[in-house]
């Protein structure tokens, strides 16, 4: 393959955003702008809509978390009723996983994958729009249950059976009204959207790569999103199938999970966790993907062990399909079953360990710049290590029997979901916001956001392990004062408030910087992947000329023609 080429006319100072966005100059009023966004099939606009949608629900889900924490702040508190409390933790879980996590990762993938592989758009732009609007409809359906969920005897106005909705609690006899229907329909619909997005990502990476972009030259972000898309195909669909069974039970009088007629609620447990555990990796791999891009750029070194990173990601994807029943040790499986899931869960630690070592080796000896994205990624590595260690503890069946359903488990998975995933997503925001808007996010507000969030996070989730070890169960509405959990819950709640303040600062920063931020230019971080080779924000066509790449770091090659990567790969 020949030398790398770029669409840039000899330099990276490309036309400014106004020229690159002729449609921005067409000042047709807000109605026309709205129309252009609703009817768009552009991967960048759809990506931004996914991300905006995710941030909106992040605030809603955070509000629900704060209601939970206020209720648990003191023993015998009566901030909300027990019914509302149940709805809050159910909606918090469902929202954060399906409407925040999934939409944010798909949003970033949508925006970045075509840019990083030098393509003009996704493989199927209209399918892309369809997927987004299905996801959006799913969120609306779920939250409509607050209004329309009231059924017989006014029972239930939002789902209140935890986010995994164990049967037979969701059956007609126990969940009256329509909350379970809205919950199931919302997840089926948004599941269709997710599968559509996954098909699109796979087809895009397979068929739209620019010249010279071989599989082993793809940026790791693209690789990890490819693995995730492959997982989505076989992970989200079992949930869809189980939801269809649930609706057959509820509407057609079926007996899939109806123990009165011989049905087995246990089957729902399996179906849910066949989805539910790999789902964790569906969420965390794109977070790794962000770290894989940010850490090398801010350490001024190429990523350490690129092939090992690819292999480890594929390995995590494969192994994660065989670990689901470690959520079910207390169900009572055979010893062989327990042993299998203990060992397979332990095995996940190997590829994740490889990744942690590779990130550390990338930073080792590097000339590290601690800008906000790098701060978030550094905290991520440490927190993910802790989260992995408590995960290994919980994967040991006897230990699990002791702590299952306690706050120790809650602390563990929030360490993964917040400490790893949310931290990396914040890093992604600070890193790519300049590309998406053409403006830098304010660095002072960013550092304030980071430090407040990291302090609040550790106050909340480090402390939360202890009441778990002391036996505090999850989902309890309140507790007696003499249990010895008072101080811990108070600290957890205070940490929650600090995190909430940090998130509000972040949301303010997003808006503030859009209007007042410094101009970013095409390549503010001196980065190496193709998205930085075009204007910020990129024009609708992305690249004026299809780029040609000769190594994993095409922009490095162009900036350093005397010492190109392609000589070493």
């Amino acid at each position: 393959m020949a030398d790398s080429t770029l669409p840039a006319g000899g330099a990276l100072d490309l036309p400014s955003a106004g020229e690159a966005h002729p449609e921005g100059e067409r000042s047709g009023g807000w109605l026309e702008t709205l129309h252009s966004w609703v009817t768009t099939v552009d991967h960048k606009r759809l990506g931004l809509m996914y991300i905006g949608y995710g941030v909106f629900f992040l605030l809603i889900g955070g509000l629900e978390a704060m209601i939970i924490r206020i209720q648990l702040l003191r023993p015998q508190n009566n901030f909300v009723s027990p019914e509302v409390f149940n709805r809050m933790f159910t909606m918090h879980g469902t929202t954060m996983v399906f409407l925040v996590g999934m939409t944010l990762i798909i949003g970033f993938a949508n925006y970045l994958v075509p840019l990083m592989i030098g393509a003009r758009d996704m493989a199927f732009p209209r399918l892309n729009a369809f997927s987004f609007w299905m996801t959006a409809l799913g969120g609306l359906l779920l939250y409509y249950s607050f209004i329309g969920g009231v059924g017989l005897q006014g029972a239930g106005s939002a789902p209140d059976f935890t986010w995994w909705a164990y049967a037979p609690l969701t059956e007609k006899a126990f969940s009256r009204g329509h909350t379970a229907d809205y919950w199931a329909l919302a997840l089926i619909v948004s599941g269709f959207g997710t599968v559509g997005a996954a098909i699109n990502i796979i087809a895009t990476t397979a068929s739209m790569r620019c010249k010279g972009m071989t599989l082993l030259r793809m940026p790791l972000l693209v690789w990890l999103n490819l693995v995730v898309a492959g997982m989505i195909l076989i992970v989200i669909t079992p949930l869809t199938a189980a939801q269809i069974m649930l609706l057959i039970d509820r509407y057609l009088g079926g007996h899939f999970f109806d123990s009165q007629a011989g049905g087995a609620p246990l089957l729902w447990f399996h179906f849910f966790w066949i989805f539910g555990h790999p789902e964790v990796y569906v969420l965390v791999l794109p977070a790794f993907a962000i770290a894989n891009e940010v850490i090398p750029v801010f350490s001024r070194k190429a990523i350490f062990g690129y092939p090992a990173m690819v292999a480890a990601s594929v390995g995590i994807g494969v192994i994660s399909l065989g670990v689901w029943a470690h959520h079910m040790f207390t169900v009572g499986m055979t010893s062989a079953g327990n042993a299998f899931f203990v060992l397979s869960t332990g095995l996940v630690g190997v590829p994740t360990g490889i990744k942690i070592f590779n990130w550390l080796a990338t930073m080792w000896g590097g000339k590290i710049r601690f800008a906000t994205p790098m701060l978030f990624c550094t905290a991520f590595i440490i927190q993910f290590l802790f989260a992995g260690l408590t995960g290994i503890m919980l994967s040991i069946a006897p230990w699990n029997w002791q702590l299952h359903g306690s706050y120790f488990v809650v602390a563990h998975f929030h360490y993964v979901l917040v400490g790893a995933i949310v931290f990396c997503i914040f890093a992604g925001f600070y890193y790519w916001y300049p590309k998406m808007t053409g403006k830098m996010l304010d660095e002072h507000l960013g550092k304030l956001h980071f430090w407040l969030f990291v302090i609040g996070f550790h106050l909340t989730f480090d402390t939360m392990h202890i009441p778990g070890l002391l036996g505090m169960p999850r989902w309890i509405y309140t507790y007696e004062a003499d249990r010895g959990w008072n101080t811990y819950n108070m600290v957890v709640g205070i940490g929650g408030f600090i995190q909430a303040i940090a998130i509000l600062i972040f949301a303010y920063n997003l808006v503030h910087s859009y209007f007042r931020g410094a101009d970013a230019g095409p390549d503010p971080w001196d980065a190496w992947t193709l998205e930085w080779a075009t204007a910020s924000p990129p024009p609708a066509y992305n690249f004026a000329v299809e780029p040609v790449v000769a190594s994993r770091r095409p922009l490095w090659d162009l900036k350093h023609p005397e010492d190109t990567d392609s000589r070493y790969e």
Binding site: A2, D3, S4, T5, L6, A8, G9, G10, A11, L12, D13, L14, A123, F124, V195, A198, I199, I202, A203, T204, A206, S207, M208, R209, K211, G212, A229, L233, I234, V235, I236, T237, P238, T240, A241, I244, M245, I248, D249, L252, G253, G254, H255, F256, A261, G262, G263, A264, L267, F271, I274, G521, P522, D523, D526, V548, L555, L558, K559, P561
Partner: protein, 200 residues
């Protein structure tokens, strides 16, 4: 932080840069996703074999639908002949084989309808009768709904072919659609084995 001046290299000659076809990749991805849905329904079916608390049982009411199965499986062969015809730009032969495929699919659907009518009105087996009814109608119905979707899409192509809108240049798209039909047929082999051979 500002722009870096970058030398522009000469664009290389238009080398071959072979990449897989996006339609085929997407259809295979969809097939993988659909397979997972079917797998879950098959697992539920197998798990509940013999666990119904009341009758009727599969052995009492189910007849092996041999004619139906032959029709559906041979439609995979006729659609393959249609694909071969469009590759040879023989549009007449294509239309004929394609129409035969649609007809065979429709016969299969009609056969399923007759079978269900007998089960419901003679044997009193509905989706809410017992676990067998729940799992049987769900699994066979899931497959039948895929046959319906397939027939709708095949019919659309047939209309285009009959009105002369379909050209040999569209051969590749037709092949992608045919992949879906092959999948629907292959799933029937699994459903047939599980429901009529193992479960009975």
């Amino acid at each position: 932080m500002s722009a870096v001046p970058i030398p522009i290299a000469q664009l290389p000659a238009d080398d071959d840069w072979p990449r897989p076809d996006r339609g085929t990749v997407a259809m295979f991805s969809l097939i993988v996703a659909e397979s997972a849905i079917f797998l879950i329904f098959v697992i539920a079916y197998v798990y509940y074999i013999g666990r119904s608390l009341s009758g009727p049982t599969p052995r009492q009411v189910l007849d092996v639908p041999v004619f139906n199965t032959v029709c559906l499986l041979s439609s995979s062969f006729t659609i393959w002949l249609a694909e071969r015809a469009i590759r040879k730009r023989a549009m007449g032969a294509f239309t004929a084989w394609w129409a035969l495929t649609v007809a065979l699919g429709a016969i299969f659907l009609a056969g399923t309808g007759i079978e269900w009518h007998k089960l419901i009105y003679q044997d009193g087996l509905t989706i809410s009768t017992n676990l067998f009814g729940t799992t049987f109608y769900s699994l066979v119905g899931l497959h039948a709904s895929h046959v319906i979707a397939g027939i709708l899409m095949l019919s659309l192509v047939l209309i285009f072919a009959l009105t002369g809108k379909l050209k040999p240049e569209h051969g590749h798209r037709v092949e992608v659609l045919a992949l879906y039909w092959h999948f629907v047929d292959a799933v029937w082999v699994v459903v047939f084995t599980v429901v009529y051979l193992i479960g009975r």
